[in-house]
Each structure stands twice: as structure tokens, then as C-alpha cells.
């Protein structure tokens, strides 16, 4: 763990993150216990630094004083005997299970009510579709944030952040003098959920946002959230189809109810319920999501490589249409999500495996697709000038270029055994704010620059 014998500066944060991971590998020690131990470690390190020790010395002494982790985890296992089974038994021994669920349910209802509230004033999704398009993420994601403010006991500062940020964003988004049909509005609305998700992330991690380990937790959380959301959506769709069918069979058409009331309420509520599910049933998906990532990594690699080869063979590579460009960007975003999750779910101490090589291949093919898209956008901008859409696509692809290049380079060094995986993790966690800042730029600045 001590790498400062060479000339490299000692990375305190990175070492703490590694230590934390090491602690968490024990089944008897849960996330919350690791939080507690980590805050102890940090207090100790701070005290030692104040006494004039160097960062590496302070880290060494502090971890030493925490003691032999084997013995400590044995103590944990003795106190919490049930925990060793948490991966096998479907359930949790947390006493707050019920209160958490009722809190999530309450907030889910609030989100659903918020969605239907404008209807009282004659504003319905049919008559004012843009009003709903602007606001529907603002109905539910702040509620998910509120869930974490309460659950993680962030106190007043958490509320200030949540209420301040969501009210601020809602005011700006709704007061902008939008035209009836505008590209900037669509762009703004596409990027708004990303910005709000970042806010959820900050609240989810609490004031640990600054640490790399916690940002990684957030990436993991996002991946598991996506899976649960899809599962819940499938269930919801089945329910609605069956409801419609059953009533149709007895000669009643209740589609007005399922589509205007049940569906939107369900979607709004699901956003918060899924947030609860991810934490309450963590053990269940924890094992499934990495498997899914492993299955889809080679498939996506295959898709992109085949696509690239066909583009070059048929000579269509420099003739990319607008729709295809949108498709390429969507593909790249999915791939980036896959990479983000795969990195977060990998144990950083394991030696490079065949999966890491596949992952590298995925990244490199994504990089090629990205370059292709950039060339196409560059061509379109040269021919027809800057518009909001082209600039947004250009910016996104440039950010992807930087991000993917970093991944490709660090993965390569890691596979060759020249660098540790921790550097790659650091690259990932430190890049997250870039995505959020870009989303904020598109949401707020693009309308000002390119007109409403």
C-alpha cells in the first residue's frame, strides 16, 4: 500500500479509498460501519498531521491504530451474527427497514401529487405539453433527494441545498422566454435530468461527496438504480396492459384512467421507490449488475466494431446523416454508462484479466466511433455553421473523446502492469463533475447564446 518509496507523492485520498475497500470486503462490515471507521481514521490522521507527521506516516500510524482488520471484523461478526448471511438470505436485518419504506412511499405520493397538481389550474399534459416536459423531472428527482436528506441525516444544510437548488433550477427553467418550437429548449430539457441526477448524487453521498470512494459508490448506485428502474417499469407496464385488457373484456374502456392517472403517478412514484429499493435490497442486485455488465461488454464491442467495419467498407463513413449522428451519440452514452459501471464494480486489487482486455477493446472502439462522429459534426459545422444542436453534439463528443482517451490509456497501462487500477478509478471519479458542468452549460447557457 505504501508507494512513496519512489518519487511519487503520497496520495492520501487514494490510500484511504483503498483501505476502505479493503475493510468493506469483510461480510460482517457494512457500508455504514466503514463510514464510521473511515471517519475515525480521518480524525486520527488529522490529529497526527497537526503534530507534524507527513501524510504517509500519519496514514500508516492511523491504520495501525485501527488494528488488525481480521480481528476487528471477527468482533463485528460476533456482534452482528446475522450479517454473514446477508448475501444469501433475501432480506436485511436493518431495524429501520419499515420507516425507510414509509418515508419513500410518502415522498413517492408527494411526487405523484405534484405531477397532477397543475391539472387543478387547467394545465394538463395534453394542453400544455411543454410545461410538463420542462417540469416532470423536477416533480420527482428532488423528492428522491429529499429521501436521502432524511435518510442520511444531512440536516439543515442538506435541506438548504436541496430546496435552494431545485427551486433555483425550476424558476430559471420556467421563466426563460421559450419559443413554441425550439432546439435549445429540447436540448435544455434533455440535459436537465442529468443535472438533477448530479444533485441527487451529492445528497446520496452526503458530505462525503469530496472523497473518491463515495463518488464510486454513487456510480455503482446509479447502475443498480437503472436496473431496478427497468424491472419496475416492466412490472408497471404489465399491470397497465392487464388492467386495460380486463376492463375492455367486460366492455369498459378505462384507458383514460390508466394513461392519464395511473401511468404518470406510477412513474413519478417509481423514481423514489427505486431509490429505496437499491439500498434496502442492495445484496440482491449487487451480484447481478456486474454480471450484466460482463455480458453486454463484448456484445456492445461487437456491435461497434461491426458497424465501423461496414461503414469503412461501404465508404459511407464521411456521409453521416443527422439521425445517424444522434444514434451514434446515444450508443456512445450507453457505452460510457457501461464503462463507468464496470469500473466501479471491479475490485481494484485484482490482477488484469481477460475481461479487462475486452473492456479496453470496448473503449477503443467507442473512441473510434466518437472520432467518426466528431469528423461528421465538424463537416456539418463547416458546411452549415454553428447551431445549438451541432454545438451540443460537438461538445459532448469532445468530452467523450477526452474521457474515453483517458480510460483507454489508463486501461492499457494497467493491462501492461505498469499502473495500478486505482489511477483509473481516480480518473473516473474526478471526471464526474465535468459531465455535470457540461449539462449545466447546456441547460442554462445554450438558450442565452443561441436564443430561446
Amino acid at each position: 500500500m505504501m508507494s512513496n518509496s519512489s518519487n511519487q507523492p503520497f496520495e492520501l485520498e487514494q490510500n484511504i479509498a483503498q483501505w476502505r475497500e479493503f475493510v468493506l470486503r469483510r461480510a460482517a462490515i457494512l457500508e455504514e460501519d466503514a463510514d464510521e471507521l473511515e471517519s475515525h481514521l480521518r480524525d486520527q490522521i488529522d490529529a497526527l498531521l497537526e503534530r507534524g507527521l507527513h501524510a504517509d506516516e500519519a496514514f500508516l500510524v492511523a491504520t495501525k491504530r485501527i488494528g488488525n482488520l481480521e480481528a476487528v471484523s471477527k468482533e463485528y461478526a460476533e456482534v452482528h451474527a446475522g450479517r454473514l448471511w446477508r448475501n444469501i438470505v433475501w432480506g436485511t436485518d436493518k431495524p429501520s427497514w419499515n420507516t425507510d419504506f414509509y418515508l419513500a412511499l410518502l415522498l413517492a405520493c408527494c411526487a405523484a401529487v405534484l405531477f397532477h397538481l397543475p391539472k387543478l389550474f387547467g394545465v394538463t399534459p395534453e394542453t400544455h405539453e411543454w410545461v410538463f416536459a420542462r417540469n416532470f423531472t423536477l416533480f420527482c428527482l428532488p423528492m428522491l433527494g429529499a429521501y436521502y436528506v432524511v435518510k442520511h441525516q444531512l440536516g439543515q444544510r442538506g435541506w438548504y441545498w436541496l430546496v435552494g437548488a431545485s427551486l433555483g433550477i425550476a424558476t430559471v427553467i420556467n421563466l426563460m422566454p421559450w419559443q413554441a418550437e425550439s432546439a435549445t429548449q429540447s436540448l435544455s430539457l434533455i440535459h436537465l435530468p442529468l443535472l438533477l441526477w448530479f444533485l441527487v448524487g451529492v445528497l446520496y453521498t452526503g458530505n462525503w461527496w469530496q472523497t473518491d470512494g463515495r463518488r464510486m459508490d454513487f456510480v455503482r448506485y446509479s447502475g443498480e438504480y437503472a436496473i431496478y428502474f427497468v424491472l419496475l417499469a416492466l412490472g408497471g407496464m404489465t399491470l397497465i396492459v392487464l388492467t386495460n385488457g380486463m376492463f375492455w373484456l367486460i366492455g369498459m374502456n378505462i384507458e383514460w384512467f390508466t394513461h392519464q392517472w395511473l401511468l404518470p403517478s406510477g412513474v413519478m412514484g417509481a423514481v423514489i421507490i427505486v431509490g429505496w429499493l437499491v439500498e434496502a435490497k442492495q445484496g440482491a442486485v449487487e451480484n447481478m449488475a456486474p454480471v450484466l455488465a460482463r455480458i453486454f461488454t463484448p456484445l456492445f464491442t461487437l456491435l461497434m466494431l461491426t458497424f465501423l467495419v461496414i461503414m469503412f467498407v461501404t465508404g459511407r463513413s464521411f456521409d453521416v446523416e443527422r439521425e445517424l449522428l444522434i444514434g451514434l451519440d446515444a450508443l456512445l452514452i450507453v457505452v460510457l454508462g457501461l464503462v463507468l459501471y464496470a469500473v466501479s464494480s471491479r475490485e481494484s486489487n485484482k490482477a488484469p484479466s481477460i475481461f479487462d482486455r475486452l473492456q479496453w477493446l470496448l473503449i477503443v472502439s467507442a473512441l473510434l466511433v466518437d472520432v467518426l462522429a466528431l469528423v461528421a459534426i465538424g463537416g456539418r459545422i463547416a458546411d452549415m455553421g454553428f447551431t445549438a444542436n451541432r454545438t451540443a453534439a460537438m461538445g459532448e463528443n469532445l468530452i467523450l473523446l477526452v474521457s474515453l482517451s483517458g480510460y483507454a490509456w489508463l486501461y492499457w497501462r494497467f493491462i501492461r502492469g505498469q499502473r495500478s487500477f486505482a489511477l483509473l478509478e481516480q480518473w473516473q471519479t474526478r471526471f464526474i463533475p465535468v459531465y455535470a458542468i457540461w449539462a449545466a452549460i447546456v441547460v442554462f447557457l445554450f438558450p442565452l447564446v443561441f436564443g430561446f
Partner: protein, 120 residues
């Protein structure tokens, strides 16, 4: 001076309960306070404190909550419950019995020591 393992194990519960009875506090502060009280003689393996705290919480002697402290760090604070105070009082009586007995033995020993000196 190295204290024996058994002694440390036996005394840790009343000491931890006693420190927390002084006011709501968190792990790192408890360790510091114990060092201070014992003049540095009682040095725990810090990691071992937390399973003990969790055990006492499970027994209903402590309550806990997460709070953001002054240095902007999230910490788990522990406070003693009524049951905890009762348990502490019971421990106190037991330890006083031992303490009295030992004190008497130490006194007798010094007296006979003095006695010995006179003979020489």
C-alpha cells in the same frame, strides 16, 4: 505499563459507558478521553471500540445517530440510555466491591512492609 488483556476486556464496558455518560460523543473522542483519563496507560486497538459500541447499542444501553460535526465530517454519535445508566450503576457497585477489597489488601501489604522494615 502494559495492562493485561483480561483486565482491559473486563473494564472496557464500564469505561465506555462512563465516558458516554459524560455527554453524547463519538468513537474517536472516546478513545482520546480514555487515554487522557488513564494518563496514556489504557491504549485500545481503536477498531475494537466499534464492535463494542454496537454491542452496547444492541443491548439497549446506547442510542446512536449520524451527525455532521464542526469540522464538516459525518460522525456517528452515541448517547447513553436510561437502561445504560442503570447498567453503569450496577457495574459501578461491582467494581467498588473489588476496589474496596483490593484497597484493603494493598493497605495490609504496606503495613506489613513497614513492619518488615522495623525488623531489619
Amino acid at each position: 505499563m502494559n495492562l493485561s488483556k483480561d483486565l482491559m476486556a473486563a473494564s472496557s464496558t464500564p469505561i465506555v459507558l462512563g465516558v458516554i455518560a459524560e455527554g453524547e460523543t463519538y468513537g474517536y473522542e472516546i478513545v482520546k478521553r480514555v487515554e487522557e483519563l488513564s494518563g496514556g496507560a489504557l491504549q485500545w486497538t481503536d477498531g475494537m471500540l466499534y464492535p463494542l459500541l454496537h454491542r452496547l447499542e444492541k443491548q439497549g444501553y446506547l442510542g446512536s445517530r449520524w451527525l455532521v460535526g464542526d469540522s464538516n465530517r459525518k460522525r456517528k454519535y452515541y448517547a447513553i440510555t436510561d437502561e445504560g445508566i442503570a447498567a453503569l450503576n450496577e457495574q459501578r457497585q461491582q467494581w467498588q466491591v473489588i476496589n474496596n477489597a483490593l484497597n484493603q489488601i494493598w493497605r495490609d501489604m504496606t503495613r506489613s512492609d513497614d513492619h518488615d522494615v522495623q525488623f531489619v
